[in-house]
Symmetry: C2
């Protein structure tokens, strides 16, 4: 009976409801902040009663967990899709990678807080959800590896500097480009320090 049309339809419907719940949760997070997400509000938005959510998620934190994985998977997809269009030279690739991350992070404050900040007191990503972030980090590291950057300290510095620009942009000039404009300069600083060959003119 496995794989029968009946079974597929049921599973599809179930998955659709799950997606609907998560979409509503993101909606609330965008409008009122991550910590203000409540089961009541999620349920209301999709025309359900709060207890019904428990048929699809074991707890509120399970919803956050799914959102966490979703966010990292999304960035993984964005990065993978963007890489083929990256320039060939190391400096160009470094800037393209930084820009891709910057724009993704700045594009959604709630998502960035969930992915990169410990904002929810009682939430810790499950091992499965954490896998999504590790997979993403692996892709980033392979990209850096091509450029010739392997040392942990160099990777740490790279993530800190780009992340610093992201945070200032979100905290002090949301929607603007005051720190976004400093990204090329920052990447050049780093490229010089790492001794990357000059870009082809």
């Amino acid at each position: 009976m496995v794989g029968s049309p009946n079974r597929d339809r049921k599973a599809e419907r179930r998955e659709a409801t799950r997606r609907e719940i998560l979409a509503a949760a993101w909606e609330v997070a965008h409008e009122t902040g991550l910590i203000s997400v409540t089961l009541r509000e999620i349920a209301t938005r999709i025309g359900m009663r709060p207890p019904s959510l428990y048929s699809h998620f074991a707890s509120k934190n399970a919803i956050f967990d799914a959102m966490f994985a979703q966010a990292w998977d999304e960035f993984h997809a964005v990065l993978e899709k963007a890489i083929p269009a990256f320039p060939a030279d190391p400096r160009g690739r470094l800037l393209a990678g930084a820009s891709t991350y910057f724009d993704f992070a700045v594009g959604d404050l709630a998502r960035h807080q969930l992915m990169d900040m410990p904002m929810l007191p009682d939430f810790t990503p499950s091992a499965e959800a954490f896998q999504s972030s590790l997979q993403c980090y692996g892709l980033m590291r392979s990209l850096m590896d091509e450029i010739g950057i392997q040392r942990q300290a160099d990777l740490d510095l790279y993530t800190a500097l780009v992340g610093g620009l992201v945070n200032q942009q979100l905290a002090n000039d949301p929607g603007g480009d005051r720190w976004r404009a400093l990204l090329p300069r920052t990447v050049t600083l780093l490229a010089d320090d790492l001794g990357l060959p000059p870009s082809p003119t």
Copy 2:
């Protein structure tokens, strides 16, 4: 009657209670996180009932407001006290300033979140409290001015890079020094970019 001993004692006692409340609030913030600070918990720690706090603060946010000002005033004092011991050369001063800020920020996560992150959904610092942060920023800017750094973009870059190291340190290696160790290198990058003269050997 103004300034009579009786009056002074009363005002002193009142101020002491205020300080006690704030100290308890910080204690809770350190142990359970900023968002988990509740009037109940504050009151319990100082042997009071929650409603009694309203004799000293108009609301919970008024407590956060006082904490916000307190934190910035504290950093102002720390910075002012540290400056006389700073090296004379520009590069040395730049690193000393960055180190002072880094150590202060990393030394207290809750304080850093209150000062530099928008973590509390319904809290916005009052104009008076914000003055404390502006005064502190003014001191920092005058320090940078001596070194010859005046352009807004340069100041923005400086704060973003140092802040990026702070955030990574707190998020990924609390208590350690993985990003702390990258501070001199980062400041050197920046000093080179700004064309600061080499340090005296």
